[in-house]
């Protein structure tokens, strides 16, 4: 696979009470155009990722909104796959180019989460579970991840302190990212002392509810060369699913969809996990980062928590994981998150990341998960010729 990323932009993530869904989407789309040096008329198709606007902003038909912002009339489609919506939209954009239908495609993602109180957001996010069996009994997303966490801690003797290091590390990285929702370092004690959400997960094990948008522009390699923007390309894009309900899985301490999408991505790119030197994984909950790193083959089963606590995934250590701060510290505006990960990889591969720059960044992997391991997409990017 060889798809050029010729433009990439991300709004700062946070609580933007003065900005609407449309404001955020427009900000990301226009700055992505500027980054690529293109005009709206150059965009031939748009995909826009969003999960909750129907419930939280009473707004669907975001495809039309995204085209409307640019004042163009091209095909524009909203894509939804819960928290993986953004990554799925990237895949849709790639498919449009690979099919020969379009040469230049914009892929955007947006979420506006802070207009309503948190219980309504919790309810909206619950619609990504198997609602009839999980939502009905009072399962929230953190609750389902808490079930996974307890089973994992029991099976692999992971300690509560080791688990906390995931958030500590991601906040350390987020403090270096001017676009991050949280730019404050935290300690293991802070994580342990923060309020309980779903035992054993505390508030600081959970990613925040953020407002934000991200946008990238994809093109054929030929078009990228023509405008001299061929420095970063996508060399793998894969996706897999698992049962919607956690209770229908044989194993709950690993996610088959991540394993499968990861293996297929390495095959597609012709690389192994050892070739990757920066990773953005879906750390919606601290536990999710540990499981993702094992499922993606970076660490042996049951060891990732220990390695993270030892600092192995810190910036410019053995493998930099979530240099952006991850969903935990950079923030998690659902529809934007999967695209925001790609924006981070693009900026890292272009050496634009300042204090959080990964030295000698060559190959980056982005892992996005929708629901509880139910939908997973993996992308691999490189700046190598």
């Amino acid at each position: 696979m060889n798809i050029a990323v010729i433009g990439a932009s991300c709004t700062p993530y946070g609580e933007w009470w003065d900005k609407s869904l449309r404001d955020l989407l427009a900000q990301a789309q226009l700055t992505a155009l500027d980054d690529a040096g293109l005009m709206p008329k150059d965009i031939q198709e748009i995909f826009v990722a969003n999960m909750c606007a129907g419930q939280l902003s009473t707004q669907v038909n975001l495809g039309a909104m995204a085209a409307d912002i640019l004042g163009i009339h091209v095909p524009s489609t909203r894509i939804e796959g819960a928290c993986a919506s953004g990554a799925l939209a990237v895949r849709a954009g790639i498919a449009a180019i690979e099919s020969g239908r379009a040469e230049v495609v914009m892929v955007s993602g947006v979420e506006k989460m802070t207009d309503v109180d948190h219980t309504r957001v919790t309810e909206s996010l619950m619609s990504a579970t198997d609602y009839e069996t999980e939502g009905f009994v009072g399962a929230t997303f953190p609750a389902l991840f808490a079930l996974v966490t307890r089973a994992y801690m029991h099976t692999y003797n992971l300690t509560r302190e080791q688990l906390a290091w995931v958030s500590v590390k991601n906040h350390k990285h987020g403090a270096l990212n001017p676009s991050a929702h949280f730019r404050k370092e935290i300690s293991v004690q802070d994580v342990l002392k923060s309020s309980m959400v779903a035992d054993p997960l505390t508030l600081l094990d959970c990613s925040p509810m953020s407002d934000g948008a991200a946008s990238i522009i994809l093109s054929t390699p030929d078009f990228a060369k023509k405008i001299n923007k061929h420095d970063v390309k996508i060399i793998a894009s894969t996706q897999a699913c698992d049962t919607l309900a956690l209770s229908h899985r044989e194993k709950i301490t690993q996610f088959y969809a991540t394993q499968y999408a990861g293996q297929q991505a390495y095959k597609q790119a012709g690389i192994t996990p050892r070739d990757v030197n920066l990773v953005e994984v879906h750390d919606a909950f601290s536990m999710a980062e540990i499981i993702a790193l094992e499922d993606l083959g970076f660490f042996d089963r049951g060891t990732a928590g220990h390695e993270i606590a030892q600092g192995k995934t810190n910036l410019n250590n053995t493998l930099t994981v979530n240099a952006s701060g991850g969903l935990k510290a950079k923030g998690h505006p659902i529809g934007a998150s999967g695209i925001g990960q790609i924006v981070e990889l693009v900026q890292q591969l272009r050496t634009q990341c300042g204090a959080r720059q990964v030295h000698n960044a060559k190959i980056g992997l982005a892992h996005s998960m929708g629901g509880l391991g139910a939908t997973v997409a993996v992308h691999i990017l490189t700046n190598k010729e």
Binding site: H118, T119, R120, T122, E123, M126, E132, T133, E134, G135, F136, V137, G138, A139, T140, P142, A143, A146, L147, V148, R150, A151, H154, S195, M196, V197, A198, D199, P200, L201, A245, L246, S247, H248, R249, I252
Partner: protein
Amino acid sequence: MINPIQHWRLTKNRYQLEGTQCMSCSKIYYPNMFLCTCGSRDFSPKKLIGKGKIVSFTEVFTSSRAFENMVPYCLALIELEQGPIILTQMADVHIQELFIGQPVRAVFRRYCTDGPDGLIYYGIKFVPDFINY
């Protein structure tokens, strides 16, 4: 919020723990299945015996509106003796009394209400075997 019509369609599953059994390989599912892992599409309803053991558990402090007046409450994944794993609330117990592998049994309890004038939703919860009423 919970929809009364959606709930009505599922009352056999929720009130009587009715699952479904593959006519070909006898595998049991909860609540239902359309295509068995063996390839069969023939199923018959199967009342499940509400006995099993805890696979994992949690105590929920941040809930949806429907459960706001119940927090904190315990949830557990239970592996039933007949095979299927179900997600359920635990009743009459503190989290400190729960452990992985603990034998549990089904009881019939109230889940939530649709506001002061709305329907009351009932269903199956589980309690540890050591509890005697």
